[in-house]
Symmetry: C2
């Protein structure tokens, strides 16, 4: 079972690209994904699933369509409800953990240059 | 949405009992639960679901029936596959995050004095 122990920072050391979530574990039909993010993402939602954001290092802001936003730092998490439009943002590079059903696309139904494959393990 | 931001240590400050997982968030039909643990838990498995352990503070050991074990510290996680018997242990108090389907019982099918309610939010 030792190979199943996942150290987040060890995994982050294996990649440097931003906005490209990497799968690190599967629980039933859910994936745990690490991502480095910086700057603005695009507005999107996930019509059929909630999505969990957890900050491993740095600061994450998530904007909502009503003009509000939340700030998350290391040791904090948030579940964005399905169907709620949101736009992640980080002024400096931020390391996050995403938890969501396998095959969830990072940009929801939006096709965009920043849309990433949903099946890359690291 | 600000009320949806969860700070793990803030939540831990709200309770002190051990081996009594507290729900802090729901993602679809999954729960995120914080627990303080110390000493030996009992052998058990979860027949129908994987279970995720993440260490927030301290050190967690998980023993397996083949005599092996894993050690997890802060910033590490592991998914214990469904049906795999395991026994968590912590020599000093350890703060963990569990992620598993709602209504998962901490001791699996085993009924024991340490069996905890699966529906307590904090």
């Amino acid at each position: 079972m030792k190979e199943k122990v996942i150290n987040f920072q060890d995994k982050f050391s294996l990649f440097s690209d931003q906005w490209k979530p990497k799968i690190i574990a599967q629980m039933n039909d859910y994936h745990f994904k690490l991502a480095r993010i910086q700057g603005d993402f695009i507005w999107h939602d996930h019509k059929h699933t909630d999505e969990t954001f957890m900050v491993i290092e740095g600061e994450l802001r998530i904007d909502f369509r009503d003009g509000s936003n939340v700030q998350l730092t290391a040791g904090e998490m948030m579940v964005v409800p399905k169907g709620v439009e949101h736009k992640p943002f980080a002024s400096k590079e931020c390391k996050i953990l995403l938890i969501e059903p396998a095959e969830t696309i990072n940009t929801g139904d939006e096709k965009h240059a920043i849309t990433a494959p949903s099946d890359v393990w690291i």
